[in-house]
Amino acid sequence: MGSDAQKQNDEMMLSIIRDILLREDRDDIADIKELLDDPDKLSERIAPVIEFHIETLKRKFPKEYRKEVDKIVERKLKASQDELLDVVYPVMGKMVRKYVSHQFVSLKESLDDRLRNFFSTQRLVNRFKSMVFGVNEGDLLLSEMDSTSIEEVFLIERDSGVLLGHYSRNTTMDRDVVAGMLTAIKAFVEDAFSKERQDLEMIEYGTYKIYIQSFHLYYAAVILNGSVTATEKDRIAARLLDFAEGEMKGFSYNAEETDTNKLSSKLAEYFKHEGI
């Protein structure tokens, strides 16, 4: 009995001591528990700390992690080329479709114009051509609409690239430099790809074409816009031969004697009204 009473007494004493020693900690734990159980209070306490770390991360990120991010992006791009193309193609497709439909609208408008002038002289000529030569009238209409225009004509000394004459519908960049660079390109291509003596005849870029006709001491470069058929090429060649025959006979290059203004106005005479 005595030992039981003693034991009970010890436990009570221990409990009192425990209460005294752990009271503060228990209070703290209770406070923390209360804080954790209440989201509003918790967010109020944690938010400034998180905000501070986010700000620090934002500030340091570009410097600290740029290389890593670059590597990841590069790896990702390489690994997902097909997916990227999947994304880009529809956009490009839409652009192409938009362009094509715009071209169709222009074509339709142009056709409408032609049909409106049903009894025009040109229309009657076309019908006659169509009957006589068996060419589809629609094809004739299309070929009329897809006309080629001469934008510029350069007359250039063959070896030196010095400009002898020039005709242009619009003002262009420095003609002398263009003549020089054309000569350099021509020389380069002829040197690089010709086994025998052959001349560069055509340079194409987009809808533009540069038709080149070489003569003994000079050459002509005709800048054309639009599609050029073999017949049209022949017509330009014939016109250039006419010019050479009429204006360049007996030409021997001499920069100080060549009247570039005179040759330029002659070129204009030959090509100004040249509708191909």
């Binding site: 030196s160 690239g161 010095v162 420095d174 002398d176 020089g180 350099a184 020389a187 920069a255």
Partner: protein, 163 residues
């Protein structure tokens, strides 16, 4: 107006393009030099009261190597042969180069130019010129612009004399 093709030639890295760019307003990219090996530009300048239009061809690479199309040289009324005063390797074959150019263009005005004089002392330049097997017409510095205009004035004057 007198219009003449002038070529700039010489070994790699002697400053041909810098001379070219110093003399003309360079509106075209130098990429032409690496693609087709030549870049053309123009400068109109007054020489002895007359206007002369220089059509300048800056030719990349060496003078007598097969890699440069001969046609780039043809039709040139003037030749500017450039070497680097600070690098003897660039005038090691000057006799061979000049001989080649004279054979190719016997009627052209030839100017031999020692460039990059800003890298040397006056005495050093004189020593190099004395030992050079060809007569150097003018020494220039494309970097500072020294004697660049003078070079073209001299060339223009000689071209005018031949008219």
């Amino acid at each position: 107006m007198l219009s003449k093709k002038v070529i700039l030639t010489g070994n790699f890295g002697v400053g041909k393009t810098s001379l070219f760019n110093r003399f003309v307003y360079n509106r075209f990219s130098d990429k032409y030099l690496t693609t087709i090996g030549v870049k053309v530009n123009k400068k109109v300048t007054e020489v002895d009261g007359e206007e002369v239009s220089f059509l300048l061809w800056d030719i990349a690479g060496e003078v007598s190597q097969d890699k440069v199309p001969v046609s780039y040289f043809l039709g040139a009324a003037g030749i500017i042969y450039v070497f680097d005063l600070s690098r003897p390797l660039t005038f090691e074959h000057i006799d061979r180069d000049i001989e080649h150019l004279r054979q190719l263009l016997p009627n052209s005005v030839l100017k031999i130019v020692g460039n990059k004089k800003d890298l040397l002392q006056e005495g050093e330049v004189e020593n190099i010129l004395q030992e050079l097997s060809q007569k150097c017409d003018i020494t220039t510095s494309a970097k500072t612009g020294e004697s660049v205009e003078e070079l073209f004035q001299e060339l223009g004057a000689e071209l005018l004399k031949r008219v």
